[in-house]
């Protein structure tokens, strides 16, 4: 044998394999045998060996379970037990841990139970997927049990302790005997038809396998399965397993536990609701406060444009100043230009012209006067010369020497011939100085002597 082909386990590994193999394949089983070597150490657990003709197996029943046994086991007693197989690794020993133990002799019922259980299991009636969830807070709890037994009172007590205002309806049934199955079937039907309650507890107290037998009925199992309202089973003692327990939506080990499972503690729910509400308010207030802080922050950062205004105001002032300055300068510049022109205008006024003109005019005037005077003067001179000449040539010069001139007065004719003058004629005699007016008185007509 080649080394590589060897599959070598350590003892622990092997033991672990065996343990899991055993425990997996034989979870809860019923076993039949005879007790031997029974002993009870200080722990209170029962230790014994179960054997038959050919084999034996170690068994233990812990104190919690054996307290409920209604008989005391002893060596040589033939018993039927219910439990699981386990391996105690340190010693490499396997043994049964028994949950339930009863004296033998009811094997036939047991076989029928196993048969039905297998069948219903195969049909899926026990599948978790079919189990209806219980309402967290039932509106009303329906109790299907014997009205007279202690079980109902226990359950009611527990429910009201947990939830004081929980309404309960009781459908009283026979929980054992020949009417039990029919009663319970009717109750489940009533439950589903009324729909007042939204969950039910199917309960009865502990009893013998025969007593519990109605709860292994296939009809009841199917009715429980079909119920639309979830049903909690609490049948017999903690160790009593019935078909009803398997098919119920929840199995409670005892009726009181069923009540605890079915109904929440009201104060807890109130507290939880209050807590959530408080949290809701505080969360939202926190949220609001956060928003408020943020807005306030934004609001603070909302820089108003005042600084910008100041900047603009300065700029505007600058512009205004420059505007006025520049314009004033422009006006001044024009004023200078105007002054320059006006000065030149005034200094070139026609006044200069007037002086020269006046001079010239005066000169002309003078010339005019002189020319006029000269004109008259020359003429005066000439006239005077002529006048002198004229007077020098005056025919009256002879008169100065004593001559005189006689003229007829009438026609001024000069007289040369006396004959022609009639007596009485008026004559004018011109002398050197002055004239005489004469009348002819007489005459001498001698031509020669007349002169």
């Amino acid at each position: 044998m080649a080394l590589v082909d060897r599959n070598i386990y350590s003892v622990s590994e092997l033991t672990e394999k065996i343990k899991s193999l055993l425990e997996k394949n034989y979870p809860f089983i019923w076993i039949n045998g005879e007790i031997s070597n029974f002993r009870v150490p200080a722990s209170g657990h029962y230790y014994f060996t179960l054997k038959d003709d050919a084999a034996q197996i170690g068994a233990v029943m812990f104190r919690g379970q054996n307290k409920r046994l209604q008989f005391m086991p002893e060596d040589g007693m033939s018993v039927t037990g219910y439990g699981r197989i386990t391996v105690y690794s340190p010693r490499g020993a396997y043994q049964m841990i028994l949950e339930y133990l009863e004296p033998s002799g009811i094997g036939a019922l047991q076989a029928a139970f196993e048969q039905l259980k297998a069948k219903l299991s195969e049909e899926g009636l026990f599948d978790e997927t079919h189990k209806k969830p219980l309402p967290v807070l039932p509106r009303r709890v329906c109790l299907i049990t014997s009205a007279s037994g202690a079980v109902a009172h226990d359950i009611i007590r527990v429910i009201h302790r947990r939830f004081p205002n929980m309404p309960i309806e009781i459908i009283p049934v026979n929980v054992q005997g020949e009417w039990a199955v029919d009663d319970i079937l009717a109750a489940i039907e009533l439950l589903n038809s009324r729909r007042d309650a939204d969950m039910a507890i199917l309960a009865r107290g502990g009893g013998s396998l025969e007593d519990l037998w109605p709860f292994n009925s296939e009809k009841m199992a199917r009715a429980i399965f079909a119920s639309e309202i979830p049903i909690v089973s609490a049948v017999g003692h903690e160790t009593d397993y019935t078909i009803a327990d398997f098919v119920a939506d929840l199995r409670a080990p005892t009726p009181s536990v069923a009540a605890e499972l079915a109904v929440p503690v009201k104060t807890e729910l109130l507290e939880r609701t209050s807590r959530l509400k408080r949290q809701l308010i505080s969360d939202f207030s926190g949220f609001l406060n956060y928003e408020r802080r943020y807005i306030r922050q934004l609001n603070d950062r909302l820089v108003h444009p005042k600084k910008k205004l100041d900047d603009l105001r300065l700029r505007l002032d600058d512009y205004c100043e420059r505007l006025h300055g520049a314009f004033q300068r422009a006006v001044n510049r024009q004023k200078e230009r105007l002054n320059w022109r006006t000065d030149r205008l005034c200094s070139n006024s026609p006044r200069i012209l007037i002086k020269s003109r006046r001079d010239r005019l005066s000169q002309l005037n003078h010339q005019l006067m002189a020319a006029a005077a000269s004109h008259v003067y020359t003429r005066t001179l000439r006239l005077k010369a002529l006048n002198g000449k004229l007077h020098a040539l005056s025919p009256a010069a002879v008169l100065d020497r004593g001559y005189s001139i006689s003229r007829r007065f009438s026609d001024q004719a000069i007289l040369r011939d006396a004959s022609r003058i009639p007596i009485g004629e008026w004559l004018e005699v011109v002398l050197s100085k002055g004239k005489l007016t004469c009348r002819v008185e007489g005459k001498e007509e001698n031509a020669q002597e007349d002169v």
């Binding site: 309402p135 967290v136 807070l137 509106r139 009303r140 009205a147 109902a152 009172h153 009611i156 007590r157 009201h160 302790r161 004081p164 205002n165 929980m166 309404p167 309960i168 309806e169 009781i170 459908i171 009283p172 009717a186 009533l190 009324r194 009201k266 729910l269 109130l270 939880r272 609701t273 959530l276 509400k277 949290q279 809701l280 969360d283 939202f284 926190g286 949220f287 956060y290 928003e291």
Partner: protein
């Protein structure tokens, strides 16, 4: 609409509280959630208080007529005293 159950309301309320705790909802949405939460909590409180402590015994006669009767539970009171 199926009738809202207490546990649905609680679940919703829890979810809303978580949403508000996360804090990233817009205000209007948050307010809406808050209102919803308040309404839900009210619903839950109401639900807890709306029932009456009453024990009824149902019995049906042979013809199937169901009759209700108060259940007299003398022992119960006694045990509450204890």
């Amino acid at each position: 609409m199926p009738k809202k159950t207490f546990e649905d309301a609680m679940t919703q309320l829890e979810k809303i509280v978580q949403e508000l705790e996360a804090g990233d909802l817009p205000l209007e949405k948050a307010l809406k959630r808050f209102e919803e939460g308040v309404r839900l909590s009210k619903f839950c409180f109401d639900k807890l208080e709306e029932t009456e402590k009453k024990i009824t015994l149902l019995s049906s006669d042979a013809s199937g007529n169901v009759s209700e009767a108060p259940f007299d539970d003398g022992r119960q009171e006694q045990e509450e005293d204890e």
